[in-house]
């Protein structure tokens, strides 16, 4: 019975996430469009509301081109690795009180593990395409994701120390009982490091180097087309959603809000996640792109020391007051 309930939950969450992915693309194009004093998609349906469906159909029916010199097996596997690991990370996210597919004790570590695995998909895609641009994209991705993983992990250590748990539900509970109700204020440094690392981890502007279209054409997915390309795309958006959820859970108090909204227990959670997704788009519309070496310098020389400082600070305060 319990397995059935879990299956139902999985299906519900999967459907909701996929719908969000679809409309995240639409929302992105609209938001960036309006920020750039244009309209965004306007053709399919009123105000282009059916655009994601049209895109999906188009990508689905496109010819699947595989370069003759590509390493076929890896080439097939790479987008799946990306998508599956991105999807798996959703399993431990608590959407509202008592609703998480798997409420495991090492939720944060699990998410880290999954997001590192997703980067393997990118690296393998770059390698197996046997294209020079893809290869450079894969190289960049491996360097970038691995170094930003550290900063991200360290930035969450403060949260773990304050909550005393790696379980995401427990972290939310701990936040609700804390004096500020959210960890944003005591962990502001950690939050800053986390947000920057979050952008880098999901390969979004200003850290979208693995697919920097002006230098590497499309980076690791240069040789991909049709559905396989769409899988990468979905993985990227799911990654964004997961990272936003993680940020909301760890710093903004998860599903808790200033008042209860009757009947919609996930109202505040969704609202906060939407804000983060909007932030992604907003930053993309505003900032230029870093260069590879500058990105690494930022990660290793600024973010990791900051995160370490944050750990020391949190520890000191905790040992004095707590």
């Amino acid at each position: 019975m319990e397995i059935l309930w879990i299956l139902v939950k999985i299906i519900i969450v999967f459907a909701v996430v996929m719908l969000h992915v679809m409309y995240a693309t639409y929302f992105e194009r609209k938001v960036i469009g309006h920020m750039q004093v244009r309209m965004g998609p306007m053709r399919v349906g009123p105000h282009g509301i059916l655009q994601p469906i049209a895109d999906g159909l188009k990508l689905f029916f496109k010819e699947d081109i595989i370069p003759t010199v590509a390493d076929k097996k890896v080439f097939y596997a790479a987008p799946l690795i990306c998508l599956i690991s991105a999807l798996s990370a959703i399993a431990v996210l608590p959407f509202f009180e008592g609703f998480a597919i798997a409420n495991i004790n090492i939720g944060i570590l699990y998410i880290f593990a999954m997001s590192s695995l997703a980067s393997y998909g990118v690296v393998l895609a770059g390698w197996s395409s046997n294209s020079k641009y893809s290869f450079l994209g894969g190289l960049r991705s491996s360097a970038q994701v691995i170094s930003y993983e550290i900063a991200m992990g360290l930035s969450l250590v403060g949260v773990m120390m304050m909550a005393g748990s790696l379980n995401l539900t427990d972290i939310v509970h701990a936040q609700m009982n804390s004096p500020f109700k959210v960890y944003l204020i005591p962990q502001i440094i950690g939050f800053f490091v986390f947000v920057v690392a979050m952008f880098a981890e999901t390969n979004r502007t200003p850290f979208d180097l693995p697919e920097a279209e002006s230098e590497l054409v499309a980076g690791y997915c240069t040789e991909y087309s049709g559905m396989r390309f769409a899988l990468f795309f979905m993985a990227e958006y799911i990654g964004m959603i997961v990272m936003s959820c993680l940020a909301v859970t760890c710093f903004l108090g998860g599903w808790s809000g200033p008042f209860e909204v009757p009947g919609i227990p996930f109202f505040w959670f969704l609202l906060k996640v939407y804000f983060f997704i909007f932030l992604y788009y907003w930053v993309r519309a505003t900032l230029p792109r870093y260069r590879y070496d500058q990105l690494m310098a930022l990660g290793w020389k600024v973010l990791i020391p900051l995160a370490l400082f944050n750990i020391v600070l949190t520890g000191t305060i905790k040992s004095i007051f707590g």
Binding site: V31, H34, M35, Q36, V37, R38, M39, M42, W282
Partner: protein, 213 residues
Amino acid sequence: MKIQYDTKKSLVERIFLLEIVKGLGLTLRRLFSKSVTIQYPKERKELFPGFRGKHALIRDPKTGTARCVACMRCASVCPARCISIRFTTDEKTGGRKLESYEIDALRCIFCGYCEEVCPVNAVVLTEDYEYSDYEREPFHFDMEALLNNWDKFVEKNKIDPERYLNPFLRPRGLALGELPAGKRMDVPEEWTLEGQVVWKDGKAVSAREAAAE
């Protein structure tokens, strides 16, 4: 002039990423401003007279056919050599009779020289720019097609073919004496040499008015 710039930032600016926040503020403001694009097939941009678009031969309302007298000026001035004209010469009078007039629109570079040199205002580039096709054939305009283009243009834009005015048929700002007889048309005062505009006190006025004041 040496450029002065100061890219140094104060500590506050550095810590709080002020310049990035300002940029974010700008994009957020623009999110709520009106967009400048137009939705093309629904809305169309209004073109200015003299837009160099689809070719046409003006159908003379009196004769019902083209005004062209086969003087060959357009064909010889055309930099792309896309106009070809055939004519027969009357042995007795020496007058020419137009046999065919063809424009290869795919060769044309839309410089407008042909309409400018035409002494009788026969050929014109209309303000129609929507004539794409899947084949090459429809872009090879023969005389019939060119006259048809004109008819369609007249019908679509509801213009009076007698009064049709194009700045290339009668270039703005030229003295009357410089124009051949066929080009001495009635034009807005702004187009004549005497009535040309100058800037005075924050608005454009005709030179004659400006001199009078």
